[in-house]
């Protein structure tokens, strides 16, 4: 699976304090929605991913529930976090 440039950028270095908009698949609109829910940093979303036991389906469904991400966006996000 080919990865986007954003994905490469994100996984190249440690997450640290990167904002949630830096995640692959999360654009401006989705990023804003996530921030409204309290997921303002990428590590918080990572936290949610881990809490869901790194389960792909559950995480993608959660992402859809929370910010309305479509299939492609959620897949990108998941792939990014998994790495």
């Amino acid at each position: 699976m080919t990865t986007s440039q954003k994905h490469q950028d994100f996984v190249a270095e440690p997450m640290a304090e990167k904002p949630v908009g830096d995640l692959a698949g999360i654009g401006e609109v989705l990023g804003k929605k996530l921030e409204e829910r309290g997921f303002d940093k990428a590590y918080v979303v990572l936290g949610q991913f881990l809490v869901l036991n790194k389960d792909e389906d559950l995480f993608r469904e959660w992402l859809k529930d929370t910010c309305g991400a479509n299939a492609e966006q959620s897949r990108d996000c998941f792939g990014c976090l998994r790495e």
């Binding site: 949610q48 809490v51 869901l52 036991n53 389960d55 389906d57 559950l58 469904e61 959660w62 859809k64 529930d65 929370t66 299939a71």
Partner: protein, 489 residues
Amino acid sequence: MAGLSDLELRRELQALGFQPGPITDTTRDVYRNKLRRLRGEARLRGEERPREAARARGEEAPLRARPAAASPRAEPWLSPAAAGPASATPGAYGDFGGPAAAWSGSRGLARPAPLRRRASARGSSEEDEDGRPFGRPAPGASPGLRRWWAASPASARPPSTLLGPDPRPGLRVARAGPAASARARPEAGRRLERCLSRLLLWASLGLLLVFLGILWVKMGKPSAPQEAEDNMKLLPVDCETKTDEFCQAKQKAALLELLHELYNFLAIQAGNFECGNPEKLKSKCIPVMEAQEYIANVTSSSSTKFEAALTWILSSNKDVGIWLKGEDPSELVTTVDKVVCLESSRPRMGVGCRLSRALLTAVTNVLIFFWCLAFLWGLLILLKYRWRKLEEEEQAMYEMVKKIIDVVQDHYVDWEQDMERYPYVGILHVRDTLIPPQSRRRMKRVWDRAVEFLASNESRIQTESHRVAGEDMLVWRWTKPSSFSDSER
């Protein structure tokens, strides 16, 4: 489906072969949807295969769960609100009944705690008004006096301040109250107890003193009208026949002396009669003859003088302490002939006798008082019990209403996912789902109230009549509102 606690949700998921991660606020919705989907698939598969393949089905279920989970994704996206109501936090349940019954509920709750402390404070201060002998504090008295406490805070008291400022003046509790509300309760309670026990001690000592004082006063009464007559007895002039002023005064003095003797005699006799009757008298009323004999023995005066004395008593309006009684006790006597017996209105009794009589009277009065208090206290207990019961019923009703709303909504969501046949669900079916058979009779009242409440106060659920499985029954239908309609979220 709804109303599952986190643990139950976890167990259900595991029973269907799925291993969930932690269930937190953010993951609860997700897992609930997962459970719903798994259940739907389990049901579908149960209709396809025969029962013997149950085991195989159980093994396949987790395998199928993953790819099947992908299929709902293709469906049109349900609004988040559909998943939202199912995820009401458990904490919200308590809040529902809270505002409605906050004042009365916490009032009922707050009462027992401060009552125990308040009552003893009341008991000590109000014992002063009791007049109990020997001041022994009875545990029965203090709770009984809650009645007065109950009357005073009838106006709205802030329920949060359990040991708040006391309206009654002069209680040490008021001093300890504001300070104690900031501290831990046991410590405040101990201080309170110390203050109250000291108060009780002083109150009982005061009562004892009061009692003794009253006793002494009652004992020392009949010593007043002595001096006037004593003065007159001094001059030894013979005044039988003369009628000048001096002699008249002397005669009057003699008369008074006679009366005095008579009074004493009657008083002593009456006292003896009251105090155990050692001479076996028939009544307090002494027959005229007896009295006359006695007076003749003591003062050596003739019967004319005695009659004159009686006439004087009859004519005077003052109360001399001697009652003249005729044949008919209720009639007033007007002439000397009618007088049959004499009675003293102030019997003279010994100290021991007086003491025992006083004690008896006091004890009987106090007992009556206590019976009244106990009765009122029992009434209060009964009332409080009733109020608490009503509160609980109301809470139970609101819980039931919440569960019903969840069930109906889930049913509707299931219908939208083609797992149910009709968008409405029978009322009785819901009842049988929520209430196990053994509790149905017990919860009948709660159920009926909940149904009433829903019919009148819930706009998202419609009560309709439909034909279900060939029979007409009342059903509830979830009217799909916008996503803002969930107050629990």
